[in-house]
């Protein structure tokens, strides 16, 4: 049987993390490519429904990543995102979703390395806990 390749959906903010992802791409840092980037203007615009939908429809984990505190292009969108993630984590954990399945990180524009590292680490963490069964529930 083929090795489990997790599907990771990453909502990345247009400013910092997206730049870091580009940087990771262009500076030849290898990171697992099954990671699917969805660019949003700000992590503060990530509706919890997006995360839920991703997890229910096939993502094995979701990453939300934006600018460091104080660095948000929109001043404080990242703080709002942090609260939302906090709530989602609370709710998801009630239903047995492992904490590894939802992550929030701050990755600055120059942090291509960190982006690649986060991706690698996330893939290995998710590999360890196995696929998310939620997507099969729709069947």
């Amino acid at each position: 049987m083929a090795e489990f390749e997790p599907t990771i959906v990453a909502f990345v903010c247009n400013w910092c993390t997206y730049t870091a992802a580009d940087l990771a791409g262009t500076s030849r840092l290898s990171y697992p490519k099954p990671v699917r980037l969805i660019r949003v203007m700000c992590t503060g615009m990530v509706d919890p429904q997006y995360i839920l939908k991703a997890l229910l429809e096939g993502a094995d984990a979701v990453l939300v990543s934006g600018c460091h505190p104080g660095d948000c292009h929109y001043i404080n969108g990242n703080f709002k995102a942090r609260r939302r993630i906090r709530l989602l984590k609370e709710i998801l954990s009630q239903f047995g979703f492992e904490p590894e399945r939802l992550r929030l990180t701050w990755i600055g524009a120059s942090d291509g390395i960190q982006f690649a590292e986060v991706m690698r680490e996330m893939v290995s963490q998710v590999k360890a806990i196995g696929p998310c069964t939620a997507s099969r529930l729709a069947a």
Binding site: T7, V9, N14, W15, C16, Y18, T19, D22, L23, A24, G25, T26, S27, R28, L29, S30, Y31, P32, K33, R36, I38, V40, M41, C42, G44, M45, V46, D47, P48, Q49, Y50, K53, A54, E57, G58, A59, C67, H68, G70, D71, H73, Y74, I75, N76, G77, K80, R84, G108, A109, S110, D111, G112, I113, Q114, S135
Partner: protein, 1147 residues
């Protein structure tokens, strides 16, 4: 406007250049932005983190109104704006003409790599044999001769460093797409044909030329030469006259028919000189008499090569020029003394190198390790390396190093942890900018960061531990030794080595230290009319100051154009957008056009699967493939296809940088450009190509195809849901309000009025001029009163400026572009106005004090009182034998915990004035840190030479002033002599600092918050220093922060520039990514109003609707995600769109 000609030329693409360009572009000017490096951002692109957030925030420089005129992305990736033409790797080679009509030549350095062809696979880097220090990493790491210049650049294609490249050609053969052309570089691009029947002449001539780098081909006969000329092009032909068969003259004539532009030099023996001269009539330019020596030949070839290069230069005309070339940094290794052994000891680094070490994208990947691998746990920063050093001819302070060191210490703590010991060795901590003092206190309170007063001379490596040992004496004279893992040298500024040449080229003058000199009272103006400057060109500046000065330079450049042409900037939004058919009710019919970038992408594109994926969606009408969609035939045929097939939406898949072109294509084909989306399929290729080494080529190709497919599908989702809703608009009232008629208010008013817009200036007191009314001269010795008089007259006689004295702004309602303002005039009169933008310039005043007996002891004066006394002869009658000045009275400690920036300069100014009036007077200045930043340091040196005694005191041992029979007695502990001094003095002068004239009521009136020190709170300390959080309101002068006169002028001009960005538009319209409200769904819960960081949402109680000010909205989506039922929607990021994106992602 001719797109080839920048209306205004900006030279230098650092922060200042970008800011100036953006300001000008946003007020309707076309800008040519020229940068010598292959990337924008200048020095700041090498620094990841800045005070005060210790992160970046550069993107906040981007326009917030009409955002679609530029690219909305991290500025480190690059800058794109409709009106900014960017020339990278380009130099200005010639400037002539006058304001309004400068003729400028631009020369682009060859990159040797075709950016379209390059897919970034990096095969070239692997084979390149040359290693050379990487400038971007301050030389801390090595790179190849073919390299990516900056890690962030948007396309980031490779380029060749001509200085390092050995022309071995390994990369050329390694490149899978044939993107590398080594011959492009320099002389290799100059093709010479040598025609001679004598082999020895032919060969040796060719050999000499080839050795010099020219591209040479040979022909043994006239016929062969003509054949070659018919097949390829040459720039120069060296043509022998006497040849068998066809002679040179005949060849010349025929050659001129085949290639009329070719330059021909005849080679002739002495006997046939006559013939050669004859040949000149047929179009030869010169002749060489054989035998000739190589020098002769080469100088002639070089002359024509230079002409060829110059002919290839881009020629533009510019009405005004803004110079933002920056400064160089001091290189300690270039100093023969180099006592700190920089460049010898690896543990000694410069502050710039340290920034690169901290950068995750830098050579150390953001980890701080010693050369021996041990973690760095002790770092010393040594200030003033190359600054304040008369032995190095540096009688100046570099202004920014103190803050950089504090920042670096804090960042190092983030990297190395709380236990890092960070020591900053300083002479004066010049934390005299806005918020600096608090930042320093933050660093102190964080613990482990020590500020040590002492200058460190040298470092001694310890053989065993590898530590660096330094020796210093404490202020009280105790000798101490400390060991460190790393020593960071806070290197100072140096003028760029090219400065003298630049000064000559542009006609500006240099100051004594070799930096560009500005006009008195106007830091952004050079001595040459029409040429302005910003940033570190006139001495190192931090980002805030650079941004302010760049805006000031921009307003002056723009004003030059307005005044010269008597016409004002074109309104940006007058350009007519033709009406497009309304397709909002039709189901989406998408035409997808996929470009292979000249076949560069063919290697990794799976066309069949692209078609299959797209066809799944019934919205896709057609899928077409092109080879070079962005230009020429393909571009035209796409237009034709659109016209024939009538799609209502266009999806193009290509390089992101072509997006603009396809918008134009859409318009040309009669489609609304808002219904055209470009999917970037270059980035996926870059990413896949660079993916893990474990993957084989086939797997990489597969990955590449997958990623491309995803990108195209995403693009499809975007375009399918794209909406051509007519943007909502606010009409702009083209009139400005300026509150305060001090120098800031008057300067701002003049800058706006000179652009043709009426300005109302409201002044509380009964006369204009503010603090300048009592200041007589500056530290530089410039007379203030004539200057004030000149400005006052200009303001009072300006037909577009109305000044209301004894008046006060009572209310400002409304929003950017349209404020309703109420002004209370004298005698209870009330005036109503409408304004497009509002500038707050209410200034500030010297703080009053009762400390040290001021108010009770007549011998105790404030600096302002001294200034008045000095000029009113009140002192003249007195004999002064001793004066004591006390700095920081009530300043830099709670509750006024900030530095007022100007007091130390004032003290030195007064001390020098007193010394010239009373040569024998003894003057003591009691200080905490002497804030003589920049070139004012030289005045400090002068004051010391004049014998003024400066005594440092600390907060826990403040001076005491005791009344005496005549004058007073000042007791102070002098740590240097380690004892208490008692100074009998005639007068005591207190520097009490500045308090802003800005009450909380004023804050409410203008909708502006106050900072912790009660000054105007700007939207962003660094990147938007004169903007209020509330769009359309600006603050300048000392209501914003304590400033000198010329700094005030710059900030006022900057505020005017910002205001003009609104006033120059007839309407403020929404951008593509803007939030809208679906009123039928909205429950008016108003969560979105609270969530909006830009106050762009209000509840319209009359209509019972949430209203979005589309111009103020930035599209961040905070509203959309807090709205439970997607009644708040961000265009381009609607929930159905995102859901489809997720579907694609999890497929």
């Amino acid at each position: 406007m001719n797109p080839e000609a920048g209306e205004i030329l900006v030279v230098g693409g650092g922060v200042s250049g970008m800011q100036a360009s953006l300001e000008l572009a946003e007020t309707g000017h076309d800008v040519m932005l020229v940068e010598r490096a292959p990337y924008l951002g200048g020095l700041v692109s090498q620094l990841d983190h800045q005070f005060p957030s210790n992160h970046c925030g550069m993107c906040r420089m981007l326009p917030m109104l009409h955002r679609d005129s530029g690219e909305q992305s991290c500025l480190r990736k690059g800058l794109r704006h409709d009106r900014i033409h960017i020339r990278l790797s380009t130099d200005v080679t010639a400037v002539e003409g006058e304001p309004g009509n400068f003729r400028v030549s631009l020369r682009k350095a060859a990159s040797c790599v075709d950016p379209i062809q390059c897919i970034g696979c990096g095969a070239c880097v692997k084979v390149c044999p040359v290693e050379t220090p990487d400038d971007f990493n301050a030389g801390l790491s090595m790179r190849k001769a073919i390299f990516q210049a900056a890690p962030f650049n948007m396309l980031n294609s490779y380029r060749i460093d001509p200085a390092a490249c050995t022309r071995c050609g390994a990369c050329v053969s390694a490149c899978p797409t044939g993107a590398i052309h080594l011959t492009d570089a320099d002389r290799g691009a100059f093709r010479i044909l040598v025609v001679d029947d004598e082999q020895i002449v032919r060969d040796s001539t060719a050999e000499w030329l080839i050795e010099e780098g020219f591209a040479v081909e040979k022909a043994a006969s006239g016929l062969q030469a003509l054949d070659l000329l018919g097949r390829s092009s040459y720039h120069l032909m060296l043509l022998d006259i006497k040849m068998p068969g066809m002679d040179g003259v005949e060849v010349l004539k025929k050659a001129k028919d085949i290639a009329p532009g070719i330059t021909v030099i005849m080679m002739t023996a002495y006997a046939t000189v006559e013939t050669a001269i004859e040949a000149m009539k047929s179009g030869a330019v010169e002749y060489l008499i054989k035998p000739f020596d190589p020098e002769m030949l080469l100088s002639m070839a070089d002359k024509h090569y230079q002409a060829f290069v110059e002919a290839a230069d881009e020629k533009i005309t510019a009405g005004a020029i803004v110079l933002t070339g920056g400064a160089a940094l001091y290189d300690p290794s270039g100093d023969p003394r180099n006592t700190l052994e920089y460049g010898v000891l690896p543990q000694v680094v410069t502050s710039l190198e340290f920034e690169r070490m901290l950068s995750p994208a830098g050579p150390c990947k953001g980890l701080l390790l010693r050369a021996d691998g041990k973690p760095v746990s002790r770092i010393a920063w040594i200030q003033c390396v190359g600054s304040r050093d008369l032995q190095l001819g540096a009688d100046y302070c570099s202004s920014i190093c103190c803050m950089i060191s504090i920042k670096e210490a804090l960042l190092a703590r983030e990297v190395s942890g709380e236990n890092l010991r960070a020591d900053i060795f300083f002479t004066d901590m010049r934390v005299c900018g806005k918020g600096f003092h608090r930042y320093k206190e933050l660093a102190e309170s964080a613990g482990h960061i020590r500020f040590i007063r002492g200058r460190v001379h040298s470092a001694i490596p310890e053989a065993v531990s590898g530590d660096l040992q330094i020796r210093y004496v404490s202020l009280s004279g105790i000798e101490k030794e400390e060991s460190y893992d790393l020593i960071v040298l806070a290197i100072g500024q140096r003028p760029h080595p090219d400065m003298p040449r630049l000064a000559e080229r542009y006609g500006f003058s240099l100051n004594a230290s070799g930096f560009a000199e500005s006009l008195p009272f106007s830091p952004s103006e050079t001595h040459r009319a029409g040429i302005f400057m910003a940033g570190s060109f006139s001495g190192l500046k931090d980002i805030r100051e650079s941004v302010i000065q760049a805006s000031a330079a921009a307003v002056n450049a723009s004003r030059t154009m307005s005044v010269l042409s008597k016409s004002f900037p074109q309104h940006l939004d007058t350009k007519d957008i033709p009406p497009f058919p309304d397709v909002s009710r039709e189901p989406s019919r998408v035409l997808a056009a996929i470009c292979s970038c000249d076949a560069a992408l063919d290697v990794c594109m799976d066309a069949a699967s692209v078609v299959q994926r797209l066809r799944q969606d019934p919205a896709v009408q057609d899928v077409l493939f092109f080879n070079h969609l962005c230009a020429g035939q393909d571009r035209e045929s796409l237009i034709q296809e659109i016209r024939q097939r009538h799609p209502n939406r266009l999806l193009t898949a290509s390089c992101a940088s072509c997006a603009d072109i396809f918008q134009e294509v859409a318009v040309a084909a009669g489609m609304d450009p808002r219904l055209s989306v470009t999917a970037d399929i270059r980035m996926p290729v870059l990413c896949a190509m660079s993916s893990s080494k474990a993957l084989d080529t086939a797997a990489k190709m597969q990955q590449c195809a997958d990623l491309m497919n995803s990108a195209i599908s995403e693009g499809l989702v975007r375009v399918k849901h794209a909406d051509a809703v007519k943007p909502s608009e606010t009409a702009v009232t083209a009139r400005a309000l300026v509150a305060g008629a001090g120098i800031a208010g008057m300067t701002a008013a003049l800058a706006i009025a000179d652009h043709g817009y009426p300005v109302d200036v409201v002044e509380r007191s009964d006369r204009v001029g503010g603090n300048l009314n009592w200041i007589h001269h500056t530290l530089d010795g410039h007379d203030v009163q004539p200057y004030l008089e000149e400005i006052r007259q200009k303001v009072e006689s300006h037909p577009r400026i109305q000044v209301y004295t004894r008046a006060q702004v009572m209310g400002v309602w409304g929003e950017a572009g349209h404020f309703y303002t109420t002004v209370a005039g004298p005698d209870n009169s009330v005036m109503q106005f409408e304004h497009g933008s509002v500038i707050l310039a209410t200034g500030g005043a010297e703080a009053s004090t009762s400390l040290y007996g001021h108010g009770t002891n007549p011998a105790v004066l404030t600096q302002k009182e001294l200034e008045t006394a000095l000029h009113s002869d009140a002192l003249a009658s007195r004999e002064l034998s001793s004066v004591v000045m006390i700095q920081c009275v009530g300043s830099r400690e709670a509750p006024r915990n900030y530095c007022s920036r100007v007091c130390c300069q004032t003290a030195v100014k007064q001390a020098l004035a007193l010394k010239s009036q009373y040569p024998d007077v003894r003057i003591y200045v009691l200080y905490r840190d002497m804030m003589l930043y920049g070139f004012s340091e030289s005045a400090y040196t002068r004051a010391r030479r004049e014998g003024v005694v400066f005594i440092p005191y600390s907060l826990d041992q403040k001076p005491e002033v005791v009344p005496a029979e005549t004058g007073a007695c000042v007791r102070v502990f002098d740590p240097v002599s380690d004892r208490r001094l008692e100074i009998e003095t005639d007068i005591v002068v207190l520097a009490t600092g500045i308090v802003p004239a800005f009450t909380s009521d004023d804050g409410d009136i203008f909708g502006v918050e106050r900072d912790p020190d009660r000054f105007f709170m700007e939207a962003d300390a660094k990147w938007r220093p004169v903007d209020a959080m509330k769009t359309g309101v600006f603050g300048c002068g000392i209501v914003n922060a304590p400033l000198t006169i010329s700094e005030t002028v710059a900030s006022a001009q900057a505020a005017a520039m910002r205001a003009l960005r609104i006033l120059t538009r007839t309407t403020l319209a929404s951008s593509r990514i803007t939030a809208v409200v679906r009123h039928s769904l909205c429950s008016r819960c108003q969560l979105c109003i609270a969530a909006c960081p830009y106050q762009a949402r209000v509840l319209d109680t009359e209509a019972d609707q949430i209203r979005v000010n589309a111009a103020m909205c930035q599209g961040c989506g905070a509203c959309a995600s807090i709205c439970p039922n997607s009644a708040a929607v961000v265009e381009g990021f609607s929930m159905p769109q995102l859901f489809e994106m997720i579907d694609i992602a999890v497929q």
